[in-house]
């Protein structure tokens, strides 16, 4: 069992769940540490885990033909990466690199999916969090898109 301090419990992701689910999440989660510039997720790789950033921050980038990597966002504690691990075709849509020494909690996607099927209340809370995250990222992407087309 991991040592879970108050700071982690109060991260936005975990605040979504009541104590019972928090406890189970901490049991299921596995802490992973990443050094500066270490790749957390490669673009187009098959995904097996959903990550929640606990400490540090990471940059999300996309590789563009003839241009190389273009960074499009920064992910902070309490935010998720590799949500695609829960949805077909389970392939990552971006490359994620640690900007500073970064700790994340990894959740096995298959176990999470089975848990959501088993307990719809947990599933609803997790899907609500993911939907809000995706809604915000869609909002940011539209903002960026409009920025580009209006130059």
């Amino acid at each position: 069992m991991l040592t879970i301090n108050k700071e982690i419990r109060e991260l936005k992701f975990f605040m979504e769940f009541d104590e019972k689910y928090q406890h189970s999440l901490f049991e299921l989660g596995e802490i992973k540490e990443f050094a500066v510039k270490e790749i957390i997720i490669k673009e187009t790789q098959e995904l097996h885990d959903l990550f929640v950033i606990l400490e540090g921050h990471a940059t999300l980038g996309i590789t563009v033909p003839d241009k190389g990597r273009i960074n499009v966002g920064t992910i902070y504690p309490g935010q998720i990466i590799s949500w695609s691990a829960l949805f077909k075709p389970y392939i990552s849509t971006a490359v994620v690199t640690a900007d500073v020494p970064t700790r994340a909690m990894a959740f096995n996607a298959k176990k999470i999916q089975a848990w959501m099927e088993r307990e719809p209340e947990f599933g609803y809370r997790l899907m609500r969090f993911i939907s809000e995250t995706l809604s915000q990222r869609l909002h940011d992407t539209r903002f960026q898109l409009v920025n580009i087309v209006t130059i």
């Binding site: 940059t59 960074n71 920064t74 935010q79 909002h139 940011d140 539209r142 903002f143």
Partner: protein, 273 residues
């Protein structure tokens, strides 16, 4: 208003310094031939003889009235000509016009400022105002975004402000380069990183129209009351007195009733962005 003076007669001002802020933004420091005062958020019309005039909100402190900074992005005929100035030229200033930031309403509150690109110019003036009476505000947080690190203006100001008690600055860039190891993303993503008490916070938004729109939508999503969102609107201001009608916004005139509005005041008008 400059009492006793013809509002259509510009005050002559000498261009005493030009500061390069970014590849297409410069700050022009003017020395008016007589005292010139304004309230933060009010705007002026800057005249270049034989060329034309354009509206700008001063970027200098409203507490300084013997010089005036105007930060200008090269974006059209008049601004292109102003950017070609070398210093020493005489320009004209009309104004100040309009309704600036109602800072008295910010007393005791957390003030969050969301700025983008050249929109930091009016905000710089507002920051001078807030700094002058910093004990009156609970906390001031500036979130500023530029397209790239090179496009960021007033770079030294960010270090200085972070040293002031209860002032915090956050920066983001839309696209990073090798010089940048900070936050990447549109400016609204900075709002996810800051802590504030929604019920005791006001937000000031100033930047390009696209940023104003998406910034406001994000603030509404967070739960801000439209009455607590202050927008600095730009709408083709010309006469400055509500006579010509060029800057109509709903049933208001931006040059007279604005340029600062709450979102609540304009939300039902068409084409506000």
């Amino acid at each position: 208003m400059n009492n006793g003076f013809n509002p259509y007669d510009p005050v002559r001002a000498r261009l005493i310094d030009i500061i390069d802020e970014s590849p297409n933004i410069k700050t022009f420091r003017l020395e008016p031939e007589r005292e010139f005062s304004f309230k933060t958020g009010e705007f002026i019309q800057l005249t270049l003889d034989g060329i034309g005039e354009s509206p700008f909100t001063p970027s200098s402190s409203p507490y300084v009235n013997d010089r005036l900074d105007v930060t200008i992005m090269k974006a059209g005929y008049v601004t292109e000509k102003i950017h070609q100035l070398k210093g020493g030229e005489i320009l004209g200033i009309r104004g100040p016009f309009g309704r600036g930031y109602p800072v008295e309403k910010f007393y005791g509150k957390e003030v969050i400022i969301l700025g983008g690109g050249c929109g930091l110019a009016p905000i710089r003036s507002l920051l001078f105002e807030l700094l002058e009476q910093k004990e009156k505000y609970k906390k001031v947080t500036l979130c500023y975004g530029s397209k790239t690190p090179t496009d960021c203006i007033y770079k030294p100001m960010f270090c200085d402000l972070n040293k002031v008690e209860n002032f915090q600055c956050y920066r983001s860039v839309d696209v990073a380069d090798d010089t940048w190891d900070g936050h990447v993303g549109v400016v609204t993503t900075l709002l996810d990183q800051i802590n504030f008490r929604l019920e005791n916070a006001v937000v000031v938004v100033c930047g390009p129209p696209v940023m104003m729109k998406f910034g406001t939508l994000k603030l509404l999503q967070i739960g801000f009351d439209p009455k607590d969102i202050y927008l600095s609107m730009e709408k083709n201001m010309s006469c400055g007195y509500g006579k010509c009608g060029h800057c109509m916004l709903g049933d208001t005139l931006v040059c007279k009733d604005g340029p600062v509005y709450t979102y609540d005041e304009v939300k039902n008008y068409d084409h506000i962005w």
